[in-house]
């Protein structure tokens, strides 16, 4: 298997618009409606960047994409720019609005900013899965024929599935508390 596909970084243009809108219109953002519009854009950019970053990481984890430093830099820089702008506006304009208004989405944006700050401070490069099974696999001709044979034989002589009652599932905390009570 050779990783050939490269992850496509997020569009920079929406992020630029987000950063610039704050820089040029910060007086207008004092108005609550504009503040809420800013938050909505910030939240949707958060979803976009985090989703793309997760996808990028998963493709590398599964061996579909190779790891290219430049791609990861794009994602990190994008998230950093988003975070800087978001924190700046939250700490000035949004706090100011919240003295007089209930601002929709502000708490959620704070949660997202906090999550991104933690993610960036603990950032590690994406890596391929150590578990071979979780990597996507390209069967060669012999493997494809044998796979079809094994599965075809099971159609004729069905492979027995396990019998018996399912195991009881507990959270680790419940398992511990049950063990301690014995």
């Amino acid at each position: 298997m050779t990783p050939t596909k490269r992850a496509r970084p997020a569009s920079q243009s929406q992020l630029n618009a987000y950063v610039e809108s704050w820089q040029s219109d910060h007086h207008d953002a004092m108005r609550c409606a504009d503040g809420e519009d800013f938050i909505a854009v910030g939240l949707s950019l958060y979803d976009l960047f985090r989703g793309q970053d997760k996808f990028h990481r998963e493709m590398i984890f599964r061996g579909v994409s190779g790891y290219f430093v430049a791609d990861s830099v794009v994602f990190r820089d994008g998230l950093t720019a988003w975070l800087n702008t978001t924190q700046s506006v939250l700490q000035t304009q949004i706090i100011s609005l919240e003295r007089n208004y209930s601002v929709n989405g502000a708490d959620r944006l704070r949660e997202c900013a906090s999550e991104v700050a933690e993610y960036l401070s603990n950032w590690t490069p994406p890596t391929i899965s150590a578990a071979l099974g979780l990597r996507e696999f390209q069967l060669d001709d012999a493997a494809a024929i044998e796979f079809d044979r094994v599965m075809g034989e099971a159609k004729v002589n069905p492979t027995p599935m396990p019998l018996g009652p399912p195991m009881e599932e507990l959270s680790l905390a419940d398992f511990r508390s049950r063990s301690e009570s014995k």
């Binding site: 578990a131 979780l134 696999f137 060669d140 492979t159 599932e169 398992f175 063990s179």
Partner: protein, 161 residues
Amino acid sequence: MVEEVRHFDFGVEPYHREMSHWLVCEAATAMGYGTKVWLYGNKSGDIIGFGSLGESQWNYPDKKSPPIKVAIIPAIGLRQEFWGCPKGPDASERYSSQIMSHLIALAPQLPSRPSALGLYVYPANLGAIKLYERHHFRRFHNKYKREETGDHYHGYVRDIS
């Protein structure tokens, strides 16, 4: 969970230690991509081992054939002190068999509703191979070379439809 399992000993061979490493270092990441991980406990309150179940895709050489969605056991481990336990004549009662049965029973319920369950095993891990074959896994011509170490692993698969 990591602190709970960090000291667990799944055996001394490198392929045993790979399981410890996976559980401590990668299980959480894999869970973020849909892999499920269970710790298994006995009636005495000991955690005896772990199992995991994920999904992957195998691609046919013929690009026109749709890829195969497969269930995967990425990693599985039984703490060394529980190997061969509980004692008794019935191998199906062993903890290792109970863990395998649990994973096999749940595999068809994964989101892609896979009809095959696969895993990779290091060829020298004869104890594990015996266990997998007892659970109707069949080796097929699917060797995977781990580029990082140069080691070859053998692919095993079974029907779960």
